[in-house]
Symmetry: D2
Subunit: 156 residues, 4 copies
C-alpha cells in the first residue's frame, strides 16, 4: 500500500488508478467520526479533507508553510463540491488537487477524491492575505510554479 | 431578540434586516468550537449550519421529519458556498433557505446567512431517496408546497 | 418552552425538572451533525457542549468575556464524562455547571446535562492563563463570586 | 519515519520513545481542523483520536471489526482525559492504548498520546452491547487476548 498523509509519487498515484491529469495527491482513510447518522461520510468532512490537503499542497508548492510569523493567510472565498458516490467507514482515499488559474492575489483550485473510482469533485476560489487581512499578491515564483507544475493559466 | 433554533416569523425576519425574498429562516449563534485557528468560523461549520437548517425546513415543509421508519433519506448531490464576510465568536446569525426548482426526485435550494449584513450564500442539489437508496419521487403535495411557499419552478 | 442559548432563570430550571443544586444552565438542542453512525450523540459532542456552556458561565460570572485583548486564556487540564443515557436527534437539553473548588490559578467545575432526566455528568480542572501562557491568579472578586453563587470552597 | 494509520511494531514504538508498558499504538498527525481559536488541538479532538484508535484496537484484538451485521456495539460509559502538554499543527503523534481490567460485559482502557514526550493520558469504561442495545458478554477468547496481550485483570 502507498503511505498515508504524505504526498504520493506519480507511480503511487498511477498504481492507485488516479487519472494522469492529477499529479499531486495525499492519501488518508475514513474515520468513524467522519460518518453521520446515515453511516456515510458527512458532507462537512470533505471540506476538512480538502483543508488538510491544501496544507500539504501549499507547503509543497512553496506558497505557505503555516509556520513563519509572516506566512500568508490562505482564505476560501468560495467552495463547491459534487458528490458522485458515497464513502464508507475505513475506506482509503486519495485527495488530489491542482491550481487551474490565478490572478494577482487569488487562485482557483480543482479537487478530486478517489477511492478506486471517483467519489467527489470540488472547486475553490482562494485568496492570499497578509496577517492584517489586506490582500497579498502571489509572488512571481509561486505563479511560475503553478504554471509549470499544474498548467495553471494567468487571469487578467 | 428573536428566538433561537425555531423558524422565525416574517416580522422577526424583517426586524433582523433579512431581505423580503427570504421567508424562512432560523437563528443561531457562533460557537467557540466552530472557529478555527484563524479565529473565524471555519468553512466546514457552514455546511453544518445548512444541515441543521434543512432539518427545520424539511419538517416545516412536510418533506421529512426524520422520525418515521419510512421517512425519505435526504442526500446532498452538490453544494456550493460563497463567503462574503467572515463570522466571529458569539455573533448571532440567521440561516435562510428556499427551494428554487425541483424535478422528479430532486430539488435545488438556495441559502443565505445573515448577521446584520450578508455573510455567506450557498446552493445545493438535493435528492430524495428511499431507505434502500433507490430514488423516491417528490409527492404532488410537496411540489405544491415548494411552488406556493418558495415560488419554486418545476424542471422538465 | 424556555429560551435556547441564554442562561435560564431559576424558575425555568425548576420547570425543566433540573434539581435545585444546579442554579446556572443553558438550553440547546441536539443537531444532526452531533450524531455518529450509531445515531446517538457522539461522545466528542459533549465536550463541545461543555465548551459552549463555559463561555456563558465565564461571562456571566465575570471571569472572561473572550473579547478583551488581555482576557485570560481558560485552558482545560483534565476532563471527565460519565454517560448515563444516550441522547438522540432533536432532543432539547440543558447543560448545567458550577465551580466546586478553586486554588490560586485553577478551579474545578462539575457539569450535568439534563433532558427531562439526567443524561451525562462531568468534571473539569481548569486553569487560568495570561495570553503569554503564564498562570494568572483568580481575582478576589472572582473567588468571592464562586463562593457566593456556587458554594465553591477554597483549596490550599 | 514510521507509517501512519497502521498499528506500529514494537520496534517502531520504541524508536518513537514510547515507554515499554505500551505495546499497541497507531500514529497520525495533527490537522488544521483539529485546532481551535487558541491554535492548539481542541479537547474534543482527543476524543476523536481515541475513537479512531479504538477501531484499530478492536479489530486487531478480535473484539469487533465494525463490518459484520452482528458485530457488537462498543459504547463508552465514561471517559477521562488529562492534558499534560498542548499539541500544535502538523505534530506527529502516537495514540497508545491497552485494557487494564474487564468484567462480564465491560472493560476499562488506558490511553496515552505521545509526540516525543507525553502529551495526554486518558481512561475509558467501555461496554459491549448487542445491536438491540442489550449487554453482550465478552467471549472467553477476547478475555484471554486481553490478559495475554495487555496484562488485563478480571474484575469480579
Amino acid at each position: 500500500m502507498h503511505p498515508y498523509l504524505t504526498p504520493l509519487s506519480l507511480d503511487e498515484l498511477r498504481a492507485a488508478k488516479v487519472p494522469e491529469d492529477w499529479t499531486f495527491g495525499v492519501s488518508d482513510r475514513v474515520r468513524f467520526g467522519e460518518l453521520d447518522a446515515l453511516r456515510h461520510v458527512n458532507n462537512a468532512a470533505y471540506l476538512r479533507w480538502l483543508e488538510a490537503f491544501r496544507l500539504h499542497y501549499l507547503r509543497d508548492y512553496g506558497i505557505s508553510d503555516y509556520t513563519k510569523a509572516d506566512a500568508p493567510k490562505i482564505v476560501l472565498k468560495a467552495i463547491g463540491l459534487e458528490f458522485h458516490k458515497e464513502m464508507l467507514l475505513n475506506e482509503d482515499y486519495i485527495v488530489c488537487g491542482k491550481t487551474v488559474s490565478f490572478g494577482t492575489t487569488s487562485f482557483v483550485m480543482h479537487y478530486a477524491v478517489f477511492s478506486g473510482d471517483l467519489r467527489t469533485t470540488g472547486q475553490a476560489v482562494i485568496v492570499q492575505l497578509n496577517q492584517d487581512g489586506t490582500k497579498r499578491p502571489l509572488s512571481d515564483q509561486v505563479k511560475q510554479t503553478l504554471i509549470t507544475r499544474d498548467g495553471a493559466v494567468a487571469r487578467n
